[in-house]
Symmetry: C2
């Protein structure tokens, strides 16, 4: 199995970095090929905008999707984007590792979605959702949070984890990925392990190693998250059932 870990944290010695290192080591020990895309380290620019496109589909007005489609067809997509697409094409499993900032991924990862999931090249009006480009590939979101894991239940103070991750999960579903249940490392105090001490960190990492080992052993047994698909919608894109989206 080829695994891509998309990593989004500014600190190389952060708890997130430690989790990515642990996952890389464990997956390789299990015989898988692992590639890491460290967005901060590579200096990825998360801001979609006109500077990324030349020649322009329309030099007078910037329309992101129109520029993406034209650049994808003309072969003029930014190298940082084509590199990420190549990594996705190689991957059987994509792991997203990041800290929950404001009930969502950091801007660095959000912008990766904005720029890398290229209109036309990776999806069209008919090549989406359960007919998406990455059909057959699995995605797994692994996050850290400052609040204790117990606060992320339904109605909890931290917010329901399913609601926090729904936009990313649904975007992955849109691209055709089979989305596995997420992994949460709570109580990381919201700012990496700097203020947690080496002992607490070691404990967290040991726990995380166990969690990852369990996930790896039962990955094929994981029950993927369920999202509505083409059979659930009428021609106008309305639900034909009482499908819940979160």
């Amino acid at each position: 199995m080829h695994v891509l870990i998309v990593h989004a944290h500014p600190e190389p010695t952060s708890f997130n970095a430690a989790l990515t290192d642990v996952a890389t080591e464990m997956l390789r020990q299990a015989g898988h090929a692992v590639e890491v895309s460290d967005l901060y380290r590579s200096g990825f620019d998360p801001v979609e905008g006109p500077d990324h496109y030349a020649p322009r589909a329309d030099p007078h007005r910037f329309a992101a999707l129109a520029e993406q489609r034209q650049a994808g067809q003309a072969g003029t997509l930014p190298s940082a984007v084509t590199a990420e697409i190549a990594r996705l094409e190689r991957a059987d499993l994509v792991i997203f590792q990041f800290p929950v900032w404001w009930h969502a991924p950091p801007a660095m990862l959000k912008g990766w979605l904005d720029r890398v999931f290229v209109s036309g090249r990776l999806y069209t009006s008919t090549k989406r959702y359960d007919r998406g480009h990455f059909r057959g590939k699995r995605a797994l979101v692994s996050v850290t949070a400052g609040a204790p894991a117990g606060t992320f239940g339904r109605g909890g103070r931290g917010g329901d984890l399913g609601a926090i991750l729904w936009p990313l999960h649904y975007s992955l579903h849109y691209m055709g990925f089979t989305v596995l249940p997420p992994a949460l490392a709570g109580g990381i105090q919201g700012h990496g392990y700097t203020y947690q001490g080496a002992e607490a960190l070691a404990g967290h990492l040991e726990e995380r190693k166990r969690v990852w080992a369990e996930r790896l052993h039962r990955l094929d047994g994981d029950v993927p998250l369920r999202f509505p698909g083409w059979d659930d919608w009428d021609a106008a894109g309305r639900s034909v059932a009482a499908a819940a989206t979160c």
Copy 2:
């Protein structure tokens, strides 16, 4: 009333820009003071990271919240951040205008949250949610989307609008804002009005002017969105009721 419009779209002639212009004009005509924070135009950097902090709370390890607290106390927050905080302090109503990209705000706006909602300065463990810093101020999210509005119902192809906006809405609730029901302009074809033609744009703008006029006239009558607060949680931050988060 003082209104701040936080605007996040790269194209000055986009449908979003037209909506912000219309809102500015109408609100001023209604006698309100309006300030616009155009994040792309001002070149706001949405990437939270070590480059924004000097001196560092910890020069060896970057921990965002620790650096934010230290900079807030030392008065060394980045000028781009203090300017946004000043605008928020002045505002009675904050409108967020952006296109829905990948079921969420563009990275530019997400990073505005990551950097501007400063730990310590604007929130603490006890000064959050219904005890938040911006208690008494109202927030209103106005978005455009390529898919028709009808696809954003529960279980619809576009995804439930409440689920799409929940992370931003809950973050605003976290900061103490009273969150008003969102405004959606659907069917903008995902890439501004470039491919929609002047006639369709004019129709959309006229419709939007009517919608805004209605919202302005009944703003005080709007029923705010409901989110769990301190009375809904036990000491561990768990829900003491069946509060739904999305």
